[in-house]
Symmetry: C2
Subunit: 223 residues, 2 copies
DNA sequence: TTGTCAATTGTCAGTCGCTGTCATTAGCCT
DNA sequence: AGGCTAATGACAGCGACTGACAATTGACAA
């Protein structure tokens, strides 16, 4: 067994200049996302055909499906970024926090930094309209929920690791995450139905609803 | 204001003999469901085309889409029945039960009577295989989750009514239901992955996992 | 029984999402 | 400059789904 004393840096700056080819790809991808979301939110998701998107971006339909495995996937490209934010934030939480608190604080801190990250690809305004579209379009809502449960498994494993547990032995990580995610979903729903579409509003709702989780499970509601 | 003393029965037997036309429709519909689920579970959902189903039942493709608005909907026809069972069972719970307990007992009592109800349309065995297929087929899982959240809204309103609350004023009904449903979903997942595919097994898991909801939300897991 | 009405079904043509294939283009690297 | 390879475009085809119209078949009254 060798003890790594001073490991050599594997790659100082792996991508200093991404190269023309890579930059071109990134631009095409971003353009597809922007145009797609713009058309989706303007005319509706199903009313917009893939042909309309690729005509506007001036690429072939085949290219669209090389970037996104489906029309739906284009909708969730930005969503994916915010999910990664949350997972990262959760990993940063101090290990002595209770599981529920760690998740709660991770969402709240994620909400704080998400705005700027989104702005690099699309206007935040467009992203908010996209979120509402997802909530109100059955086909998209379905995919959204499936993606959420996929992330729940990821989160459950992080929580289990924090507590030194095995997810397949102790059901509590998955259950805590499921309960937490359920509340977050209701939060998103209520925010989408409300009139205040700001990031501050959803942050406030997040806190408010998570605070109600304990009381909601209490045996007696009337007092 | 009139006090209903002894309400007259509105319609004694509205449908004594459904008529040939109606019976024929029911038979076609049941046949489509049976054959579809059989083929789906045997060869896989996406691998089975609608044409294969309608060829086996000897109807036109157009007829299939008159009975089911999509290929997916055929999968959930039986599921729908069990959901109605649960809603009914929930309505029967005594009003003094705590919300969470009412839901818990409603599922458990529903599991008891679901078997026979299913058998009228398809073999229970086929239904169990269908459930597993849904869990393991992304496209179906997505639809399943969306249907679940639609039912959550229904349940939340029942809970709110029991407690004399307005779902749009007090968030607790929706939150309690979301947490509850999250746990039920994990239950279904775990059951689908396990080896014991019996109705007893899922009943046992239901009890076990719901018992863990409180502990999972506790601030300290280690003791 | 028969004729009429309306519900149900079949046929056909067409749209749209999506995929496999193959030729063409265009960065990249020696 | 020229070869290599990644990216794109063009095309054909499949399967889910829909609209429109014609054909069939129970229902029900004359």
């Amino acid at each position: 067994m060798t003890v790594p004393v001073s490991a050599p840096v594997p790659a100082p700056v792996p991508a200093p200049v991404p190269g023309l080819r890579e930059r071109k790809k990134q631009r095409t991808r971003d353009a597809l996302i922007r145009v797609a979301l713009e058309l989706f939110t303007r005319h509706g998701y199903e009313a917009t055909t893939v042909d309309e998107i690729v005509d506007a971006v001036e690429v072939s339909q085949r290219t669209f499906f090389r970037y996104f495995s489906s029309k739906e996937e284009a909708v969730f490209a930005v969503q994916q970024m915010t999910e990664e934010r949350f997972v990262h934030a959760l990993g940063q939480r101090p290990p002595d926090e209770a599981p529920i608190d760690a998740m709660r604080n991770a969402v709240l801190s994620a909400w704080d930094t998400i705005g700027e990250a989104i702005e690099e690809v699309i206007p935040v305004d467009l992203h908010l309209r996209t979120y509402r579209m997802i909530e109100s379009t059955p086909a998209l809502l379905a995919v959204h929920l499936r993606r959420s449960t996929e992330m729940e498994e990821t989160i459950a494993r992080i929580i289990a690791a924090r507590e030194g547990l095995d997810v397949d032995e102790d059901p509590r990580p998955r259950i805590a995450v499921a309960a937490f995610s359920g509340v977050m979903r209701v939060t998103g729903q209520m925010w989408g139905r409300g009139t205040d579409g700001s990031l501050e509003a959803i942050r406030a709702l997040t806190e408010q609803y998570l605070d109600q989780l304990g009381p909601a499970l209490a045996p007696r509601w009337r007092d």
